[in-house]
Subunit: 251 residues, 2 copies
DNA sequence: CAGTGGTCTAGACCACGTA
DNA sequence: ACGTGGTCTAGACCACTGT
């Protein structure tokens, strides 16, 4: 049972904030001790003494752990680990689905169908609040799982015309967003999602290799930069039943 | 344009924490000034002076406003309102869809189809980790919008047998959860959601008054109490196209 | 350079649950 | 009565942005 030695102390010289170091240590310990039932977790006081810090970084670490579902806290009672560690797959995260599925050991491939500049449809003009002659970069990507189509995503981006990612480049990067950040310094920091079910259109059916009007799950996302500028829109069509979005809501 | 006077000061005698009072005031001001473009928001320093408080409550208020999508903050630059106020409809919130739709001025009714104690199916036993002879309370509810079925939700709860809500009681309460809290002191505090599209089964088609195998959106939710105890499961079937889940993801 | 938000210290008082 | 987490004060130093 003696695994890798767990990092036990914090580094005051590090540029990494204390609360983040504490959080990382606690996450590792929680994962190492996963399954042990009902044992109590350290109190704020114990952590303050253990790490020789004030309450603020301890509280910030515990608060983030609670927000992310690792522990729950009850006033006057204490802090307790949740029984089942959160899985938090992406899907509503922004980009990176392919990498995630691969990490899970799934046979997952991504194919760029096309990269081109297009004139927006009327619908798209309204959504992105642009004029009909403002061109947008359209990236069409098909994600395959075990050789079968899983998701077809089309992303429209309002970016300078000198952003010209190649197909291979995109396939290697696993997400447009990392290229955007690397080459243009543009960071996508928020997505407004709408999720609904629908029947596959003829084109969708063709791309995903299913029958016409078969059920599909559609997520439409408005993409915003760090400065809250609306910079793009994405529509992803997911095969029904095979693809499930998962996530938690706390209150 | 002179609406109700905005509350401008905080009440130190109130039991409501300062940061919540500040947050509420700021939300009202943001909504009142919605649409005005690009104006800067108060800095932490200004708010400290305005409300005569220390930085902590101001920071907590601003942090929550940022988490909830009202403002975004940039280090060394400032805090700025987002252009479009978040709408935040529920749907993934826990309970209260009916009330929300009514607030939006929609003609929305809720009908309890049945309330009964049932033996769990094999599938449900696995999900809730119970024995096949542990009974569960099943509540079947149909939500109608403009006279047409919108959502069919079935909730299974592991609760003491003396919790016997009546149909009328449930319809008035708008959600089982408020009754659970009021009558049993049980607070549902977390939901693990799975969302997918599927074709309507024969039974679903009948209840929702649609054709067999028409697309539907399904959300399955595991319900947890404040102590992280798995206390129930809910499966909700939504009419396709008419019903869209909406929400934001920040990173 | 001054001003911003991010982090941290070292205290304090409180409401609430357990014993 | 005691310990828990929730809130608050009044300071401090830092990295970064804009001028």
């Amino acid at each position: 049972m003696t695994k890798h030695a767990l990092k036990l102390t914090i580094d005051r010289q590090s540029a990494v904030p204390l609360y983040k170091q504490i959080k990382e240590i606690l996450i590792k310990e929680l994962q190492a001790a996963a399954g042990e039932t009902g044992r109590p977790f350290s109190t704020e006081h114990e952590l303050v003494e253990r790490f020789h810090v004030s309450r603020a970084p301890v509280r910030q670490a515990l608060k983030e752990l609670a927000n992310e579902g690792y522990v729950y806290r009850e006033r006057a009672k204490g802090t307790f680990p949740v029984q089942e560690m959160p899985v938090r797959p992406p899907g509503l995260e922004l980009g990176g689905l392919v990498g995630f599925l691969r990490d899970q050991g799934m046979d997952c491939k991504s194919k760029i169908l096309s990269v081109d500049w297009v004139l927006p449809t009327e619908n798209l003009c309204e959504i992105l609040r642009i004029e009909p002659n403002d061109k947008a970069l359209r990236i069409s990507r098909l994600i395959m799982l075990k050789g079968k189509p899983l998701v077809w995503a089309q992303t429209y981006l309002l970016v300078p015309e000198d952003f010209q990612p190649g197909k291979r480049e995109l396939e290697e990067a696993e997400s447009v967003f990392v290229l955007l950040e690397r080459e243009q310094g543009i960071l996508i920091s928020r997505g407004d999602h709408q999720i609904y079910a629908s029947g596959a259109s003829q084109m969708v059916a063709e791309v995903l290799d299913i029958k016409d009007s078969e059920p599909v799950l559609i997520t439409e996302t408005k993409l915003y930069t760090r400065n809250d500028r609306l910079i793009g829109w994405r529509k992803a069509v997911h095969i029904a039943d095979d693809y499930k979005l998962s996530f938690s809501v706390n209150r």
